[in-house]
């Protein structure tokens, strides 16, 4: 048995080893952080008690929004032709949430009491709601993924029972996602004295929810195109194009609401008069206007290269938004600014490497891409004589 495992590990390609080394290095720094405390390992301060970890968490939760968006489209709205994208997306979501939980654990000064949110509720706290929703939703993602993990095992009989409850679980999952995606925006409502007026808004929860739909779909598309190159499996072109079709609609609603809210609250003039903050905000808008136009073009939705470009713009725009709301657009106190320490960055890289490694290993050993389309090899690998003989 042991020999079998060793042989199996030996058979893995060099990429797995590189990821494992980075992950191990990053996670060792994480261990040191838990031992040494926040002050000695991070650049967090009284003026900036939250840093790059929170920005990473917000971005990753938005990226993982594909899982609930797709589940809603396929199961609730009965768009079953998109079903082939569900499994890889649910796995991206699950691994995304696992990374967020890991980083949140790093971020807790009293990580030894992480379970306190279960026993000491504060119903007014957005962070309390986010903690509960993320915990419950991660459980649902495991449930949604379990048929893939169980399929070739001796417990495959359980799949039938699991799938019977898919619809109620999906509806619970989409509800929980709606709640916590929006509550991550609510988090910043109480921070009005610190967050710049261009970002602070009573509509923050709505903005966060809508942008997570776009980021989630962009992540599905980007993932499908990347796995075209890495795992040689991808989504059928019409599935990918149909997913992309939603993006201009979502982005239009998002941008109209964002700019409209500035107009209504009489803050539109800040767009051009706030120096560094204006630049950040306008960059954010520009990064989302480009994919809005791109994905409105049919040829783009059917082209892998162009779709990847469009998806990259959406993801960049949403990442910048989350970093702005939680870091760049937080007004400094007495000129004090924040930039992360090398250990904060090293831990992030370690967690990211762990996430990619986990995804690759599950994709390698479990029937994750069963419904996806194998990439057709260029002619040189096919026996050319036999082909012409046909």
């Amino acid at each position: 048995m042991l020999k079998k495992i060793i042989d199996e590990v030996k058979s893995l390609s060099i990429g797995y080893y590189i990821l494992a080394v980075i992950a191990a290095a990053g996670l060792s720094v994480a261990g040191y952080r838990l031992y040494a405390g926040l002050g000695t390992t991070t650049n967090l301060s009284k003026a900036f008690p939250w840093g790059v970890w929170i920005s990473f968490d917000l971005s990753t939760v938005a990226f993982s929004g594909g899982a609930f968006t797709l589940a809603a489209l396929v199961y609730v709205f009965h768009l079953h032709e998109l079903h082939s994208a569900v499994r890889p997306t649910v796995l991206v979501g699950l691994i995304g949430y696992a990374s967020v939980l890991l980083i949140l654990f790093m971020d807790l000064g009293r990580w030894d009491r992480f379970y306190h949110f279960l026993i000491y509720p504060n119903l007014n706290s957005a962070l309390f709601e986010v903690s509960w929703c993320i915990m419950l939703y991660s459980t649902i993602l495991i449930y949604e993924l379990s048929p893939v993990l169980l399929k070739n095992s001796r417990w495959s009989g359980a799949i039938k029972i699991i799938e019977k409850w898919t619809i109620p679980m999906v509806i619970a999952g989409v509800t929980l996602s709606t709640l916590h995606q929006s509550s991550l925006g609510t988090l910043f409502i109480v921070m009005s004295p610190r967050l710049h007026a261009l970002w602070h808004s009573m509509l923050l929860p709505v903005f966060f929810l809508i942008s997570s739909l776009a980021a989630g779909l962009a992540m599905v598309i980007a993932g499908a195109i990347l796995s075209y190159w890495i795992f040689k499996r991808t989504l059928a072109e019409n599935v990918q194009a149909e997913l992309a079709w939603f993006i201009p609609w979502i982005l239009s609603i998002y941008l109209v609401l964002k700019v409209g809210e500035l107009e209504i609250t009489d803050e539109l003039h800040l767009l051009f008069s706030s120096g560094k903050y204006s630049t950040l905000y306008l960059t954010e808008l520009a990064l989302l206007v480009v994919p809005l136009i791109l994905f409105a073009i049919k040829r783009v939705r059917h082209s892998r290269g162009w779709s990847l470009t469009g998806a990259a713009f959406v993801l960049a725009g949403v990442v910048l938004n989350r970093f702005n709301a939680s870091w760049f657009a937080i007004k400094p106190v007495a000129g004090e600014m924040y930039s992360p320490s090398w250990m904060e960055v090293a831990i992030l890289i370690g967690v990211l490497a762990t996430a990619v490694l986990a995804y690759s290993l599950i994709a390698h050993y479990f029937p994750l891409f069963e419904e996806t389309v194998p990439v057709e090899r260029p002619p040189k690998r096919q026996p050319s004589l036999a082909q012409t003989g046909d």
Binding site: S84, R110, N124, V333
Partner: protein, 289 residues
Amino acid sequence: MSETTSNGNEYGFLIDASRCIDCRACLVACSVENEVPMETTRIWIQETGVQGEFPNLARFSAPYHCMHCDDPSCVSACTVGALQKGDDGIVTYDQDRCIGCRYCMYACPFQVPNYEWKEQLPLIVKCDMCVSRLSDGHSIPACAATCPTDAIIFGKKSDMLAEAHRRIDQNPGKFMNHVYGETENGGTATFYISPVPFAELGFPAADEASPAYFNRLVTHGTPTVAGAVAVGLSSVYLTIKHHAEATAQGVGAAHGQNQAGPNEAEGAVVGTAVPQNPDLPQAAQGQEA
């Protein structure tokens, strides 16, 4: 707008910047009373720096600690309810509950909560009006008891506010006509009077409404939103399912085929979807069939 209403029993501070001589005895008293190191005391000094031209120089200072807001943002924010507002007006901190998420530090409009950054397992540092002293029969908090110039006085909140206005009214020209803390962040239990504008002392310009109120507007809507989303999604699911079944049965009757029954509606829908996807691999079609 405030969730808490006055019951007349709240404690309060009055801090007079014209009396503060920046001796920092209050910091030492706080440090000793609460057993915290000097760099993370619950009280510190805000000051103007030297103002004016020689020889007419002036420098003003004032001790600064938790304002004990009527509707505290930190209490609204705290994930685990470690921060609470009592009937006595004190915003207390339960260090056995705190998980160290530091949301209160960002939520506070006065940047009051401090953190034991150097500790391995750090806690929040914040004034609790020396609540243990009050209950032990000591009449007032350590900082107010120590202050040699009575720059900090402590008592009933309503008395403190009345005294602040009395000093401003009876000393025309001596103070700015502004009691800091009376309306800031929806009202607080710590009142300041000062000969110079509070901005020069480095006090933040807080709004008259507490952000905690706007936070509750949203978080209190959560159960409604959750219910609406769950009901909405279920109805969309059932409506489309019903429609698909009706269509499938209609088609089945027309062609005389053996179509899927109502409880296999999903299979029926997937079945009709397959021909639209000629590029699906065999594995997928086999699985869906």
